[in-house]
């Protein structure tokens, strides 16, 4: 199939939660090198609250994105609250009218998330933040749309773009956030936010892929 039903998208949300929970320690470790070492903790806290809230609920993909974003924004705070809160809520805002989500819809949603983010942070590609992961992922999706690729292929390419974007932060000097105070000392390690963003996008892509192939089998 080339789409999945928005109201059957809960597995994607659960996969996002699981990915963050599994990488809690790793993300804090990465943040510890040039930040304050709490990124995994901050993310895990928000995602776990979300898990508890939706566990026994019937919830669509976009409803879930809104709920998760709102939890991050209103209950977690820090830098991640506004950043991921804005991305997720804006993805949901654009996507909530979609009954079925295909490549084009998903591409629009993620682009809206990135656009929302640029409304609250000044970071651009190359500033060693999660923008370095998110922006190439968005580009990769819209290219795929333009080139008429399948949703599955587009997701696979998006994962590669996100991964490359994340890896690119290693050689960069941080321009925003705590690690920006380190100047040259921030070079040589990947950025924590870029890493969590890559983990989340990968989890989303893999979970969508499963939904698409399940539909396919049934079809």
């Amino acid at each position: 199939m080339r789409t999945f039903n928005n109201n059957e998208g809960k597995p994607i949300l659960m996969a996002m939660v699981k990915a963050i929970q599994e990488n809690k320690g790793y993300l804090s470790e990465v943040d510890g090198l040039i930040g304050d070492g709490d990124h995994g903790m901050n993310m895990n806290k928000g995602f776990t609250v979300f898990e508890t809230r939706i566990k026994d609920k019937d919830i669509s993909f976009t409803e879930g994105l809104d709920e998760l974003g709102t939890i991050l924004l209103t209950e977690i705070g820090g830098s991640m609250g506004p950043i991921y809160g804005t991305i997720l809520i804006d993805m949901s805002d654009v996507g909530k009218t979609f009954e079925k989500i295909g490549l084009k819809e998903f591409s629009t949603m993620l682009a809206a998330g990135l656009e929302g983010l640029t409304g609250i942070v000044e970071a651009k590609v190359g500033d060693k933040t999660l923008v370095d992961t998110l922006a190439p992922a968005v580009d990769s999706l819209s290219n795929a749309v333009a080139e008429g690729k399948s949703f599955s292929v587009a997701l696979a390419e998006m994962k590669i773009a996100a991964e490359q974007g994340k890896e690119s932060t290693k050689e960069l000097v941080a321009k925003f956030g705590r690690s920006s105070r380190l100047g040259e000392r921030s070079r040589g390690v990947i950025d924590a936010g870029a890493t969590s963003c890559c983990i989340i996008l990968t989890a989303i892509a893999d979970a969508i892929d499963i939904l698409l192939s399940e539909k396919h089998e049934l079809a």
């Binding site: 943040d31 609250g81 000392r185």
Partner: protein
Amino acid sequence: MQRILNDPDNIVDEMLCGFLKTHNDIVEKTTNSRVVKSVEPVKERVGVVTGGGSGHKPAFIGYVGKNMCDAVAVGEICSSPTAVAFLDACKAANGGKGVACLYGNYSGDNMNVKMAVKMAAKEGLEVKTVVANDDVASAPKDQREKRRGVAGEILMWKVGGAKANMDGSLDEVIVAVQKAIDNTRSVGIGLTPCVLPAVGHANFEIEPGTMEVGIGHHGEPGIEVCALETANEMAKRMVDVVLPDYPFVAGDEVVVLVSGLGATPVMELYVLYNEIEKLISEKGIKIHRSYVGNYFTSLEMMGATLTVMKLDDELKTLIDMPANSVGLKQCR
């Protein structure tokens, strides 16, 4: 980790409960569990608000009280409060004349405050902000807007609280506070790192026998790592960073604040201040008032910060006004 803890994930909530129980003569809770307000009745004047991550006791919550801040938004350890907490703090402090939100220059706080200001505007509440950027070490002078806020925030709150209590308009409060922070410079020296309870190990190192000059309140490194010095040498180094940056010059009257970072014995802060006072006085700068103690800490870090603020007549009046918060009490 030799620490007094239950579940690290609940430490902020438990701390808040204990704080509210102890200081119920000064602060009280609000409907938002991460917002605390002064017990002083809200008057028809400008409200003064701050907020920030936890782990800096007595900051931020300890600077709520009479003639200081009216309400505070409380974040996780080393993590900005939510936009909603900032918003609710503004509402709690709202006496109908607008609210001044005075906070430190960190990306989380910047984003959350910005959102809170927008949300407040939607609800018809005018919130204006001043962001503290007193930490000389964190960026060159021509990029002062990038500098962190550190212990200078305390003097900023003192000025803001006093000005609001003299019935300054929102613009007057903002102007006085902006002047206060523009007149303020700080630098920190870190001697040992700190451990976030939920992390369980230090995530940066300060080699014994070395010190980190220009350290931030979360262990962010600064100008340089150098060999551990005597108290007098540290005093000279700090004074030499702070004075020329403003610059403070002969004839100026200043407030000096020496704060410990948490675990340095307070005795040593007085040893440090003893030399700082000498060096500043020798330059012909008059110390009008000084504060020495654990005013702005980073959990159990060792080290100290020096903050100097230049006074004019207005700031002197505001700084000298009595105040009654947990962290800063000026009686009578």
